[in-house]
Amino acid sequence: MTVWVSLAYLVAAVLFILGLIELSSPKSARRGNQVAAVGMVIALGATIPLLHFTAAGIIITIIGILIGVPIGAIGARQVKMTAIPQMVALFNGVGGGAAAVVAVSELLLKGSHPAFAVAFPSVFSIVIGSVSFAGSLIAFSKLQALLTGTPITYPGQQIVNGVLALAIVALSVYLIAVASTPIIFVPLLILGLVLGVAFVLPIGGADMPVVISMLNAFTGLAVAASGFVLGNFALIVAGTLVGASGTLLTKLMSDAMGRSLGNVLFGAFGTVTAGPAGATSAEGKSVRSGTPEDIGTLLAYSRKVIIVPGYGLAVAQGQHAVKELADELEKRGVEVEYAIHPVAGRMPGHMNVLLAEANVPYEQLKEMDQINDEFKSTDVALVVGANDVVNPAAENSPGSPIYGMPILNADQAKNIVFMKRSMRPGFAGIDNELLYDPKTVMLFGDAKDSLMKLVAAVKAA
């Protein structure tokens, strides 16, 4: 490796770091991604011209790139905004797969009895890379509804997974310490793939963003390990950055959901016990339901309305309708703000992305801490397709699965309107007593339909 290539790698590494720094702040995030992309181009540009390609080598490199570019670009361009998590899972998975394949190839080249400094990172890269590949594909399938989103569990599953993991460790040790034929890496690869599948199957669909983030960190570490094998520090720096930042991000994401990472990964929690919960809870409690006209009038003559968007708004694709309603209310002099709970929706930032798409001005999007004190001076809290994020059980029933999660204080508003299709619970599968509050009015129906009706009602009011 010449000095110039190394310097180019260093520049690339610096650009990755700068990109990551910019990515962590909303204002510069987009530029950050572009900065990292420039780093990537530099790293590739410095590598390619200096290689001594075989004839086959140059052909497969070109063909590979010609196949990969359109797949990546078209996939990324055409995916719907709501399907982004599964797309990220897919792109992450192929990265993990590539790392595993690179490690296998490198070991085949080195022949029998590679040095520990090569064997160890290679084995690591193969195992982690294949776990990430298979796990990401399962995550994709769950989110894309190719597989059921509910946890797939069976008795003794933890034990099976534990045995699988042990087998991998044993095989790895054997390989590094004893084995002489490289071909034994094939069973390792296969075991890694099986573990990846087995590991993600019992995790609920809505926990997938956390899992994807973790697999993303895995791929980063696999890439760093490949960097050790190849003695290439651009791979080491970039892979490690992703491994470290991804690990922390995974923790931050599960924290934001008010749960531990262990609970997300091994809790098999996330089963939406929809039917029964709805049935049992209705007993003995009365629910008040309103017509769009009633509620439209209530909104039109309010001084201040806070909109609490949730997962249902995304399902109903009602972001444009909600913006229209807000505009209509503002025309009449009503003050409108949006209260964004950190885990509203199904991926972090989901609501922000969704409402941004509908051009809701940024200033109106308020984070939980900013707005929680304002509910008490609010006339109407309009809860659109949200549920868990306003459930008082998080504050007052210690047994509840969401106990301890901070919630939006919608219950302090003078009136609460819930727009959802039924009395069914949300993601956490638990009943919400706020639905039965005397201050609450239900507006049943698909969020988008109901919103359109409200717009009409406000116009008429």
């Binding site: 990969g68 905004m81 993303n216």
Partner: protein
């Protein structure tokens, strides 16, 4: 690979861990998804590794592995950056801190 270069690589590895942690420790929730996606693109650097092994491929096994590695890694890089950009595109213009002063005030208050 000798001891000293391994040690150097290990040092770089350790320092990069700190950078990764420190940078992310300040990130707001709203950026979790784009950040996941952006870092996903960065590990696409494995394409450099893929090309390194593909370049010298001679026998059929090497050719197949090399081709697979290059395809997968390319999808990772290209898809990763593009999808992140699309996601972040929607954040732009929403914080027109300075420009906003020129446009008529938002109707937020009334």
């Amino acid at each position: 690979m000798n001891d000293s270069s391994l040690l150097n690589e290990f040092t770089i590895f350790v320092l990069a861990i700190f950078i990764g942690f420190e940078v992310i420790s300040k990130v707001p929730t709203i950026l979790h998804t784009p950040l996941m996606s952006g870092t996903n693109a960065i590990h696409g650097i494995i394409l450099v590794g893929a090309i390194l092994i593909a370049a010298t491929a001679r026998d059929p096994l090497q050719i197949v592995l090399g081709l697979v590695a290059v395809i997968l890694a390319t999808i990772n890089v290209v898809g990763g950056f593009v999808v992140t950009d699309r996601m972040l595109e929607m954040f732009k213009g929403r914080q027109p801190a300075k420009p906003a002063e020129k446009t008529p005030p938002e109707k937020t208050a009334g």
